[in-house]
Amino acid sequence: MMADMNLWEQLLYYFSENGLYIWSQFFRHFLISIYGVLFAAIVGIPLGFWISRHGKLADWVIGAANVIQTIPSLAMLSILMLGLGLGVNTVISTVFLYSLLPIIKNTYAGVQSVDKNILDSGKGMGMTRWQLTYMVELPLALSIIMAGIRNAMVVGIGVTAIGTFIGAGGLGDIITRGVNVTDGGAIILAGAIPTAFMAVISDLLLGWIEKKLDPTKNKKILS
């Protein structure tokens, strides 16, 4: 029966027969990526602020994050698996580690880019260190930080696809199955297309948020 259908017909058929399953794996894939990036943001953003206050440390920290980034994702998964075992949490940790560099680097760059005169006037108004960070630096750097998170998210979605090899589930499961069955072209596409779709949509969405957060483009503040 399937032999009579072309690849696209097979793909449509696959979507209609297994829609719920694909959706559950899509959601799982998305959650794994989001959690990894979220934790990286919780660690990375404060770290970025901290190293921008201690200029000498910045090179070290960013250097270390750079080293993490150079490890191939499959190797990283395997290394972490030795310590953390199989499953979802190991993949989340991997996404976390890969997300650190873009988030730390962008936070650092964002804080550095804040005009020193603005900080001085803030100080002149009697703002405390915390107020300067929270009310001046953070809003001004936010759009650049967001660009880092956006970058991390796209990388994270890709890394999660490999997580299938340590039993985390996600759309990688569907892709791997397509590779294993005899005539699995349609199944591979059924896993790969939603993965790409997820990456593009999150990129667009975060890009939109990034633009919204850019104070120089926000008319309300300027006027």
Binding site: M1, M2, Q10, Y13, Y14, E17, N18, Y21, F27, R28, L31, I32, Y35, F39, V43, L47, H54, L57, W60, V61, A64, L80, G83, L84, G85, L86, G87, V88, N89, T90, I92, S93, F96, T164, F165, I166, G167, G169, D173, I174, T176, R177, N180, V181, T182, D183, A186, I187
Partner: protein, 314 residues
């Protein structure tokens, strides 16, 4: 000093991550729950989801399934290391020579006894009764040829073998123990010509009439779709690859009901049924999970099968 703090922070975060479970992703992999390893082939995944479905139906727990573990040894390591506690499917022949490191045995009952004892003694794991199917090497012919010469067993081929072309798995030709040489010794006849080919291609070659008899895997879905006839291995050349679930004694102690659940599956899936399930998944593009759920619903989760305390059927 600061760097040490940073590394410590990273480490802490990682440990924190590994120990907690996050909303939406089910419980993490831990000693308390039931974690089932499936596999990478369609058959292994279908059986994995059948076990998962059974466990969730009878035991009030959200069972986890781990698929796509690259090899049977990785699968084994997952159970030994405590990352998982139920292996949905293991084959006697594979585990006997693999995990237990023994010589292949062709008698299915002896092989089964050996793995049951071996897994209990060496790994503290219980090898359950077979599902009822075996994924082994098997000679097969078209329905037409079988009808014409009344073929049931491999020995039936003897009289006509000199006119038949055979397509076989290329690695089988060189295999010691159950390979081509052993075949000649055991059955005492040869085919007209033997063509080594990739195992995935033999079914099509047979159906297209390019081969008269081929050696393939006995539960492949294409046997059903092409209406092929599997010949019985009457002289027991091929070691048995009967499929069974395996669970650690630890998890059986934590969930005593699990013993009954896995025993219920004894002899519930025949070779033909497994061929059919593989066929539905491979040929009709239905995901293994969907195939497994349908199978369980169709059989009402085998609720009618009673299991006594020793784990046998009543």
């Amino acid at each position: 000093m600061k760097k040490v703090q940073r590394i410590a922070a990273l480490f802490l975060a990682a440990i924190l991550l590994s120990s907690c479970s996050l909303p939406g992703l089910g419980s993490g992999f831990n000693e308390e729950g039931i974690t089932i390893t499936g596999g990478s082939t369609t058959e292994q995944q279908i059986v994995g989801y059948i076990v998962e479905g059974m466990v969730e139906h009878y035991i009030d727990i959200d069972a986890q399934i781990v698929n796509n573990l690259g090899s049977s040894s990785l699968n084994h390591q997952a159970l030994i290391g405590g990352d998982a506690n139920v292996a949905a499917i293991k084959y006697t022949g594979t585990s006997l020579t693999g995990e237990l490191g023994q010589d292949p045995i062709t008698d299915p009952e002896v092989a089964l006894d050996l793995v049951v004892e071996g897994f209990a003694a060496e790994f503290d794991q219980k090898w359950f009764p077979t599902y009822g199917f075996a994924n082994t090497y098997a000679f097969m012919v078209t329905q037409e040829l079988a009808d014409q010469y009344d073929l049931v067993t491999i020995s039936d081929l003897e009289d006509i073998a000199s006119e038949l072309d055979a397509g076989v798995d290329s690695s089988w030709i060189q295999r010691a123990g159950d390979g081509y040489d052993a075949f000649l010794d055991t059955y005492g006849f040869d085919f007209n010509r033997v063509y080594p080919m990739q195992i995935g291609l033999v079914y099509n070659a047979l159906q297209a009439g390019e081969m008269d008899v081929v050696l393939g895997y006995s539960t492949d879905g294409r046997i059903k779709s092409y209406d092929l006839v599997v010949l019985e291995d009457d002289k027991q050349l091929f070691p048995p690859y009967d499929a069974s679930p395996v669970a650690t004694f630890e998890v059986l102690e934590a969930y005593p009901e699990l013993n009954e659940v896995l025993t219920k599956l004894k002899n519930t899936i025949s070779d033909e049924k497994m061929q059919e399930l593989n066929y539905i998944s491979d040929n009709n593009l239905i995901e293994p999970k969907v195939v497994a759920d349908d199978f369980l619903k169709e059989n009402n989760y085998f609720e009618s099968i009673e299991v006594n305390e020793e784990g046998g059927e009543q």
